[in-house]
């Protein structure tokens, strides 16, 4: 296989389509561009409530960014700062991550995707960083983007791909409090927040809190495509 098929999770939202506001599957184009640039074929996966047999059509998977995860997924009460949640999207992505683990499918989690990986593996979230001691000034959110640095752990794949310290874009108000059974591979330089995780027993199971596809930082996408190709 020259160009592996990489699934990208996507939500369904009411979106303008012609003269209508319609339910549409919608995801930023930057994910598909990053996958094409990295030599893969992106296919967008709409959320649904069926078993994820789409996994058999894929060589790799990106769990994309998006809204807050329903806190019931990690056994917490709903914090008033947790914004709109989408239980169907949560369930779908949980099933896909579990199926990817079972089939050893290469998987990359981005922002919410990394958070979902941690939640599936028994982790939990800070529901609102601006009111979380030690992380009050983590960065912009609510559509805004700020930059900060992340220190990556030597000996890990993210370190070999991106180096010891990397400048990243930050646009989230929740953060991983505990990564569950996953290994932390990167932390924010200024406040120690978990920014990258991996599951070493898996062929390729990595998550990053930032959005590399929006800053043309394609190393992790290329690594995913290589793993998906089996090389």
């Amino acid at each position: 296989m020259v160009r592996p098929i990489i699934g990208v999770t996507a939500p369904t939202r009411v979106t303008k389509w012609g003269p209508w506001d319609m339910d549409a599957t919608v995801v930023p184009a930057t994910y598909a561009i990053a996958i094409v640039q990295s030599g893969g074929i992106p296919v967008i996966l709409p959320p649904d409530d069926r078993m994820p047999d789409v996994i058999h059509a894929l060589d790799g998977l990106v769990i994309s960014g998006g809204p807050d995860i329903d806190p019931s997924m990690y056994g917490a009460e709903l914090d008033p700062n947790t914004l709109d949640t989408y239980p169907l999207q949560d369930q779908r992505e949980k099933l896909l991550i579990e199926a990817a683990i079972e089939t050893d499918l290469p998987i990359l989690g981005i922002c919410r995707g990394m958070q979902m990986m941690c939640v599936v593996e028994g982790g939990r979230m800070h529901q609102h960083l601006p009111s979380t001691s030690g992380h009050e000034s983590h960065g912009s959110w609510n559509g805004g983007v700020s930059d900060h640095h992340v220190e990556l752990v030597p000996g890990t794949l993210v370190h070999s791909e991106l180096g010891g310290e990397v400048s990243v874009n930050s646009t989230h108000h929740q953060g991983v409090e505990h990564a569950g059974s996953l290994v932390v591979t990167g932390r924010a330089s200024h406040d120690g927040l978990i920014e990258a995780v991996e599951k070493p027993s898996h062929r390729f199971f990595h998550g990053v809190q930032w959005h590399p596809e929006r800053i043309n930082q394609f190393e992790m996408y290329s690594a995913l495509v290589r793993a998906a190709r089996g090389s």
Partner: protein, 229 residues
């Protein structure tokens, strides 16, 4: 494995997470009806190498969306032709041609129908509301219009749908010349509403929106044809 049905999507500017971003989007009813008809929907994104994409698919839908760039059929753009995207046209035309060559089942819907005609040397009316006698087509004030189409006997489409069916309409352009393709359906005013190539097992396009109409006969026929490839 269930038949894998690729559906082409559109890149549009939308306010999504932040203002005015390029997003890949497709109305939800396309993947939804494919699931209901027993297929696995995979939404395809412009720019993906068509040859590699088709290696991973059993069937293909060229979906509805924006106007086809008139340069594809050697016309100047009429004032009503807006929001064209030549890169998307070229990507989908390459998918259409290569899928047909490989005998992968193809269903074109609305824009997909028009693009399939153009890919076979056909041509379009750029604005039906000012083209006699087709003024009544389309969606106005946010409402679909409905009309009857006659399916031509002896065509592939006639083996799937009844001779007369009521369809929905949400388009302002239409096929004026089917190129090398065979007409398999017309509306009462004579507009070309469906095309097929007369050779492939399943290479059909329709001007209406079966996914929005819940017309499972047609989608199931695509999924079934795709499962035998």
């Amino acid at each position: 494995m269930k038949p894998r049905i690729g559906i082409t999507s559109s890149v549009n500017k939308r306010d999504y997470e932040s203002e005015d971003r390029d997003v890949v989007m497709l109305p939800w009813n396309y993947p939804s009806i494919i699931e209901e008809c027993g297929g696995t929907p995979l939404i395809l994104s412009e720019g993906s190498d068509p040859y590699s994409v088709l290696d991973a698919l059993d069937g293909l839908i060229i979906a509805g969306g924006r106007d086809v760039d008139p340069s594809n059929y050697s016309q100047e753009a009429a004032p009503e032709t807006t929001d064209t995207r030549l890169s998307q046209d070229h990507w989908e035309i390459a998918l259409i041609i290569e899928a047909k060559r490989r005998k992968i089942p193809v269903l074109g819907i609305c824009r997909g129908h028009q693009l399939i005609a153009v890919a076979h040397g056909g041509s379009l009316y750029q604005h039906l509301p000012t083209t006699s006698p087709f003024e009544s087509h389309g969606a106005w004030g946010g409402n679909w219009s409905k009309h009857v189409v006659e399916v031509m006997g002896g065509t592939s489409l006639a083996s799937i749908l009844d001779g007369h069916c009521i369809v929905n309409s949400a388009h302002h352009q239409g096929v004026s010349d089917p190129g090398t393709l065979t007409i398999n359906a017309r509306s009462e005013d004579g507009l070309i509403e469906g095309l097929e190539d007369g050779e492939s097992d399943f290479f059909i396009s329709v001007q209406w929106h079966p996914e929005a109409l819940g017309q499972k006969d047609l989608i199931s026929a695509l999924v079934n044809a795709s499962s035998s490839t």
